[in-house]
Each structure stands twice: as C-alpha cells, then as structure tokens.
C-alpha cells in the first residue's frame, strides 16, 4: 500500500523532530566535553570543539589530591556497597520467596510499614550520630543498603524458577543456604545483574547522604566535591563585572569552569562503560518485575 501524502509529511516531521531531540540530548554533553579540553574556555561560543586544545584540567585533577581523592572514595563505596547490597538483598529475597515459612507475613509487613512512615531526617541523623557513623565511609554504604523494592523484584524472579530444580538438590540433603548459593543464584543472573547495575549507579551517584553526614573533605565522594567547584564558579559569576580588573580571580574562575567540566566528563566514564549492560539489563529488570509474584 502506498503511504498517503499526509503520512509522508508526518514521517518527515517525525524524523526532523527526533533529529532535534537527539541533538538536544547530545549537545550539552559535547559542549561540556569540548570545554573540558579547552584552554580558552571562555566567552560566548557555539563551537563544540576546543579552540585551544589542552589537557590542563585533566592533569590538574590527576595531580591534585583534593580532587582525585573524592573519585577514589566514590569508587570504594560503589564497589563495597554494591557487593554488599546485592548479596544481602539476594539472600533476603530467598527467604521472602518461601511463602509457607512461619513469620512470612510478619516479614512482609516489616518491609511495608517503613514505606508509609518514617522518623524523618533529624531522628535518623541523631541515631547515626549516636552510632558514631557521622563522617564515616560506613554511613555512605549503609544508607540505602537494603531496599524492599529490590528484594521483591528479586523474589519475583526466584518464583519464576521451576521448583523442581532446588527440590532435587534438597533431596540430596543440601542446606537452604547452599541451594541459594549454588542453584538459585546462578539461575537468577539477569535479575542479579539488573540489581547490581542499579546499586552501582546509585552508589556512584551518592550525594544527599554525603551532604548530610560527611564533613571532612578527604572523605567526600566526587559528587560533593564537584558541587563545591560548581557553586564557587556560580558565586563568582554573579559578580563577574567586578572581576574585570582582577586577573588572578578571573583565572581562578575560569579554571573552575574548565575543571568542573573535566570532572563531569571523568565521572561519566564509569556510567558510559556500564551503559550497554544497563540498557540490556534494565529493560530486562523492568520486565521480570511484571512476572506474577
């Protein structure tokens, strides 16, 4: 069937529309990328390539302990946090999947009630203070370590595994923990991968917890450091006019912008490396959730 004229116009409009969208999505990142390599990162310019190519800002990050240390901190909490969160949630979900276990209903309610109601910011803060968790890496890992939603998602996947598989192992006398570790876990790779990626991204992006609990700059995740650099740059901008004669301050201001851009690009690298897997498993994660629980 030949498409009508109206349909052709719609098709052309649609392609133009999504070309615009794709550009609008890409340009912000390309602009920041070009600025991060631009030694003359100033003035109004729509150029998406550096005017004077330089790796100055990247070298600055690699040589300044105050800037690269936060990246190492983020890597540390991401690795430890993700590993711990995935293991504890996968293991907890295994128990949740046993509908006939005495206490099952109690566990479910224990997980649901905090979704409705919580102590709020100050009671949590005072508790963590009493536990000596202020200004520690531990609090960055603990916060958000276990989420009921993730456990229900994993449990739903376990429920879709044919019961005959773990049953045969149990006849062989295997303990529940062994069944979980050697049969259920290997069979649940898609959902475990989805949760691991999800946790990895959220630990890498940790910000609010650090704002609340971390005081020492040497323990900052990179997000806090980056925000600091950006806000300094913003404050300077509001009195840019006053900077006209002050070369030193002006240079510092420019450094901040280029530095911020380079930090943004560096912080995106792990996300971009993980992105193909994110795309693959997130879609899967969205789907496994809809399997009946």
């Amino acid at each position: 069937m030949k498409p009508s004229r109206q349909q052709k116009i719609f098709g052309v409009f649609n392609i133009a529309f999504f070309t615009f969208i794709a550009l609008a999505m890409l340009i912000p990142v390309l602009f920041v990328l070009s600025r991060s390599f631009d030694a003359m990162a100033t003035g109004l310019s729509t150029l998406l390539i550096p005017r004077k190519f330089s790796t100055f800002y990247y070298r600055l990050i690699l040589t300044d302990k105050g800037i690269y240390r936060p990246f190492l901190n983020s890597m540390f909490i991401t690795m430890v946090g993700t590993g711990l969160a995935v293991f504890l949630q996968a293991m907890g979900a295994y128990t949740l999947a046993k509908k006939d276990l005495p206490g099952h209903d109690f566990f479910i309610w224990m997980l649901i009630i905090p979704m409705l109601f919580g102590g709020g910011l100050i009671p949590s803060y005072l508790l963590n203070k009493a536990l000596g968790l202020i200004d520690t890496y531990r609090i960055l890992i603990i916060s958000g370590l276990i989420s009921a939603w993730n456990m229900f998602l994993i449990r739903n996947y376990y429920n879709s595994i044919p019961a005959s598989l773990p049953e045969s192992a149990r006849i062989d006398g295997a303990q529940e923990f062994k069944v979980f570790l050697s049969i259920i876990l290997p069979l649940s790779k898609p959902v475990i991968a989805a949760i691991a990626l999800f946790e990895g991204v959220s630990y890498w992006n940790t910000y609010m917890t650090a704002v609340i609990y971390i005081n020492s700059p040497e323990k900052y995740p990179f997000t806090v450091k980056l925000r600091q650099i950006i806000s300094v740059q913003e404050d300077r901008r509001s009195d840019m006019q006053n900077l006209a004669g002050q070369e030193e301050l002006l240079i510092q201001y420019l450094n901040n912008e280029g530095l911020g851009c380079a930090m943004i690009i560096l912080s995106m690298i792990p996300i971009i490396i993980a992105y193909p897997y994110l795309q693959k498993y997130f879609t899967k994660g969205l789907m496994v959730g809809s399997i009946k629980g």
């Binding site: 907890g92 128990t95 046993k98 910011l121 508790l127 910000y207 997000t223 992105y275």
Partner: protein
C-alpha cells in the same frame, strides 16, 4: 522498575493458608539466619528512628532535651512565611511534573514508535536514555555550564540571533520551567521505555485492519495506540504518587542566592533548619508535616491502584 509492584507486594499474604507447622526445623532456622541481616537493618535504620518524631513535640536542640512543648513547634512553623513559601514551591514543581513531565514520555514513546527507520530509532533511544543514569549533581553541572550567561552554549545561540543573554539558572521566576526542561532531558528517554514496551504488545493486526478501513496515522494513534496504552498510563500515574514530595537532590544542586525564592522546597528547607541551623525540633515538626502529606498520597496511590490493576490488588497492600 516500579512496575514490579503491579501484582502487589503483599499479594501472597492473603493466599497463604493457616495450618499447624513446625517453626524451628533446621531448614527454617537457616532461612531465618539468611533474613537476619535484613531484620537487623530494618530495626536499626527504619524502626528505631520512628519514635524520634516525638521530637516534634519537644524543645530539643544541640544541647539536648529541654521540655515538652505540645504543639508549639507546629504553631511556630505554620506562622513562618518561608515555610509556606517552601510548601507552595514544592507544589509548583509537582504541578509542572504532572502538566509536562507525565505526558511527555507518553508522547515521546508514541512518536518514536511511529519511526520506521529502525537504526535511527535505536540511536535516538540509546542517546536519550543515558542521562537518566547521571546524578543530579552531574546534570546540574552540565546545565549550569550550558546555560551560563557569559560562556554557555544556549546564550551563545541567543547572542547569534541578536538576543540579550538570559541567566536561566538565576532567574527565579522562570527557574521552575527551566528545571522541568532539564528534568525532561534527564528522564524522558528512560521513562518512555515502559511505554514503548506496552506499545510493542499492541496487536499489529489492529493497525492493519484500521488501515484497510482507511484510518490515517493520527486516527490510528487516537483509536488504537492510546487505548492500548491506557492500563500502563494508569498504573504509572498511580505509582507516581509515591514519594511525590521528595525533591531534595534535584533542587538542592541548583540552589544559589539568586534563585532561592523558587528553589527552596520542603525537603531543602527541612534540611537547612534541621542541620544547618541545628533547630532539631522545628525541623522534625516540618518533617512530620511533610510525611503526613506524603502518607496521604501513598495511601491514595494504594487505593487507586486497586482500581487499575488487573487483579484488584493495591501496590502496597
């Protein structure tokens, strides 16, 4: 991710039969041990802070507990103009989220689904989903750079067509709209995934017979695509009520002295009163107010979800 709850997370409670069982068999003990870390975690970090809301009715500062004050803290916060301002601002962002943020990914998915060039479609999807995974700090960093009046790309475009530079991030009047556009940049691609999956499930034969009946693209969208999406739209609409007031990170990272009039929302204000000014009781009272409003919306979501899910079960119970 949230669609997981379609079937109700407490769904199996109602189906489990009551019968006499031995509780502490060796298998069960192992299962309890496996769940123990979750129980400990929940008791310490979810349940222990709960009675802490009592602080809202006390005079409690960094020096410690002074006395019970009844509703004085509430009278105080309700008399604060800035508290109401922060409350109103919260609703500006929520309003824009429903006005623009909710329909945008639906339209995006429908139009993307109409693209016949598969490679192009895939490319657009790949590019538009990425920003979802970036933290708000990164997103704000990217956009503050892009919107800079002295060196940003957007103002360079404005300059090129002879317009004055506009300080998007500092203009408090237009900031909520600017923020919504940035939110779309971050989230539209990811949010549309679930709609695209729903679109893929619509029977292609329905379109074929519609074409035979002489229906154009727009009529097909209106009579086949939209009704096909309806269940997904309803479920996601209901789910979106959860955590509706949680706006700390997205707004805190954009705050500066110029835009504070419209970027101060309940969450950021509670943080500042509580931890920057260390007025623990006042902040807890504000938090209690916020979580009461939030609870109302969560219960509303649960109530409505019973009407929109196939099995009539709520998202929570």
């Amino acid at each position: 991710m949230e669609i997981a709850t379609k079937t109700g997370i407490a769904s199996d409670i109602k189906t489990s039969k009551k019968k006499k069982r031995r509780i502490f068999t060796s298998a069960n003990i192992m299962l309890y041990l496996m769940f123990l870390p979750v129980v400990i975690y929940y008791i310490i970090w979810a349940y222990v802070p709960m009675p802490g809301i009592a602080l809202a009715f006390a005079d409690f500062r960094t020096g410690g507990f002074k006395r019970w004050v009844g509703l004085e803290n509430f009278e105080f916060i309700f008399s604060l103009p800035f508290f109401w301002k922060a409350f109103a601002n919260t609703w500006i962002y929520i309003g824009l989220r429903y006005l623009i943020g909710f329909p945008a990914p639906i339209i995006f998915a429908i139009l993307l689904n109409e693209l016949r060039q598969q490679k192009f479609k895939k490319t657009v999807q790949t590019i538009s989903t990425l920003p979802h995974f970036l933290s708000w700090v990164i997103v704000s960093g990217i956009w503050i750079t892009l919107l800079s009046p002295s060196a940003g790309f957007i103002n360079a475009l404005r300059h090129a067509i002879g317009l004055e530079p506009y300080f998007y991030v500092a203009e408090f009047r237009t900031f909520p709209l600017t923020f919504q556009v940035i939110s779309e940049w971050k989230g539209i691609g990811y949010s549309s995934i679930i709609y695209l999956a729903a679109l893929a499930a619509i029977d292609p034969e329905m379109y074929e017979s519609a074409v035979l009946d002489g229906a154009g693209r727009l009529r097909q969208i209106w009579y086949i695509t939209l009704p096909g999406l309806k269940p997904t739209i309803l479920v996601l609409f209901v789910l979106s009520f959860r955590g509706i007031l949680n706006l700390f990170e997205p707004l805190y990272v954009f705050q500066n002295s110029a835009n504070i009039k419209t970027t101060e929302v309940l969450d950021t204000y509670i943080y500042k009163v509580g931890l920057v000014q260390a007025r623990y009781s006042v902040s807890t009272a504000m938090g209690l107010f916020k979580s009461t409003v939030g609870l109302f919306f969560t219960l509303l979501a649960n109530y409505f979800s019973k009407k929109v899910t196939e099995d009539g079960r709520g998202i929570l119970f």
